[in-house]
């Protein structure tokens, strides 16, 4: 999978690509509700539904950035509401440590967001998506991983195996 990013620089015309890992039980439902309620949102996100935010290995986030994502969102259930009881607690510790590292190497904190949005909070979902797209649009394309927008074919998964 390659995330194609428009080659234009910051400013007009730059459409960021955001990879959003969203939890099946809450944020995905919120996204669904937002769609059904016809809430307006920028179409820049590539949503990947996962069963739990606790399933998100930091490597997935790193890989998304290295493959050309300009921003990454991980969104799960509110603390205490995890379908698997504690998945999001583990996710929070892991992903926010990752955020410290990414922020440290100069990836602006706006580019990597970790949020908790329940199935009912379609408007929060709309707000988060709008925010992240606007912020990343303002920041421009991510330059750290500029050189190698390449991917080993093996990472495309088992579809053909």
């Amino acid at each position: 999978m390659t995330v194609e990013t428009p080659t234009t620089g910051a400013g007009t015309g730059f459409e960021p690509r955001i990879v959003a890992f969203i939890c099946n039980w809450c944020t995905y439902a919120a996204a669904d509700l937002a769609g059904v309620s016809r809430l307006q949102m920028p179409p820049n996100t590539l949503n990947i539904r996962v069963m739990c935010s606790g399933r998100i290995n930091p490597m997935l986030v790193i890989r998304a950035f290295s493959q050309g994502a300009d921003g990454v969102l991980v969104s799960g259930c509110h603390m205490g509401d995890c379908h698997y009881i504690t998945g999001n607690y583990y996710a929070r510790r892991r992903l926010l440590t990752l955020k410290s590292v990414l922020t440290g190497i100069g990836i602006e904190p706006e580019r990597f967001r970790v949020t908790w949005i329940s199935a009912a909070e379609a408007q929060d979902y709309q707000r988060v998506i709008t925010e992240i797209v606007e912020n990343v649009k303002r920041l421009g394309p991510l330059t750290l991983f500029r050189d190698g927008r390449v991917v080993a074919r093996e990472t495309t998964g088992c579809a053909e195996g």
């Binding site: 390659t2 927008r149 390449v150 991917v151 080993a152 074919r153 495309t156």
Partner: protein, 342 residues
């Protein structure tokens, strides 16, 4: 005339006139490397262990990351293969110590003989090497043990002996004749005697490691089954430092890097016999599963196999693998124990 005496500034000028890219050692140790000389920059006036970078010059003509071909697949199964260009700007390496200079003999014999490795062959043809006599041996140097010396010109096209503000320049091959002619015009000739006199200044000091080259291969072959290999490598961590920093190690890997489902490129990257997966077959069979077998392969490749195939050792005694080994594995110590004079 095969040797001349020129002022050092003349070499600077002549090199600048050629318009070639000049690469020089940028400093000693881990931070150093072979880097391009800035316009108007000064050429190094001496070389030795105190100027020897941790990274050898092999990467210039044998980069860690080289494209071998690109491909585009059609949706109906068509295949289009694009060859890569294995070229670079015409380059001169200046001021390499004899150990790094001699590495090109080993690389040439391994990569150019019989079927040439296209990537190396393309770049090697555009590289000239101006070696320099070494004025300071380091703690880990053992070039005199592998048939070289601080003043050997093996692998060089021109050899330079610093002498005060002058350089004695010896013509070793005809590869840099363009430069040689510029230097030669009107320069004072230096006869053999003068050359030997200056050469004599670069005396091999008594080095710490001594082993006898002639007897080595036979002794190592006998030591193939020695239990010492296990002791030699029990603290080995299987990192690639010894081979990545070796000026003569040239094993590589070929991998495909897909840009997307239908296009991508094939890459050649450095690899090392020290990684377990180096010889691991898809069937899970691995002829060199154990660390000691892999260390043995490294030592024997340098001191037994390569000499058998090409007539000289695949080691120039630069000492990098000893100096930078994180766990103090000492190839000279091992070789001495198994086949040397100690």
């Amino acid at each position: 005339m095969s040797a001349i005496r020129v002022p050092a500034s003349r070499m600077e000028k002549a090199l600048a006139e050629t318009g070639w890219r000049v690469m020089v050692p940028s400093g000693a140790g881990r931070k150093g490397g072979y880097v391009e000389l800035r316009a108007g920059g000064r050429l190094p006036r001496e070389c030795g262990d105190h100027t020897k970078p941790s990274t050898p010059p092999k990467g210039l003509v044998f980069p860690n990351n080289e494209e071998l071909l690109s491909y585009v697949l059609g949706v109906k199964g068509e295949i289009e293969v694009g060859p890569a260009s294995h070229t670079m700007a015409r380059t001169v390496l200046y001021g390499t110590p004899p150990c790094d200079t001699a590495s090109f003999r080993a690389l040439d014999s391994a990569l150019l003989k019989d079927m040439a490795e296209p990537g190396y062959a393309g770049k090697r043809g555009l590289l000239g090497v101006i070696g320099m006599a070494c004025s300071r041996a380091g703690r880990w140097c053992f070039c005199t043990s592998v048939g070289l010396s601080p003043r050997s010109n093996i692998g060089a096209d021109l050899m330079v002996y610093p002498d005060g503000d002058d350089l004695l320049v010896e013509r070793v091959s005809d590869r840099l004749d363009g430069l040689w002619k510029r230097l030669e015009a009107g320069a004072a000739g230096a006869d053999e005697k003068a050359l030997r006199a200056v050469e004599g200044k670069f005396v091999p000091r008594v080095l710490n490691f001594v082993f006898e080259a002639e007897k080595l291969a036979d002794a190592l072959e006998k030591a193939f089954g020695s239990p010492y290999w296990k002791e030699f490598s029990e603290r080995c961590v299987s990192c690639g430092i010894c081979t990545f920093l070796c000026p003569t190690c040239h094993c590589f890997d070929i991998t495909d890097v897909a840009k997307d489902e239908l296009s991508g490129k094939r890459l050649r990257t450095w690899d090392t016999c020290q990684f377990p997966e180096f010889t691991g077959e898809t069937s899970a069979h691995n002829p060199r599963k154990e660390r000691w077998a892999r260390q043995r392969q490294r030592v024997l490749h340098k001191f037994l196999y390569h000499p058998r195939n090409h007539g000289h050792m695949m080691c120039t005694g630069c000492g990098r693998c000893i100096r930078y080994c994180p766990v103090d594995i000492n190839i000279a110590e091992g070789v001495m124990r198994l086949g040397g004079s100690k």
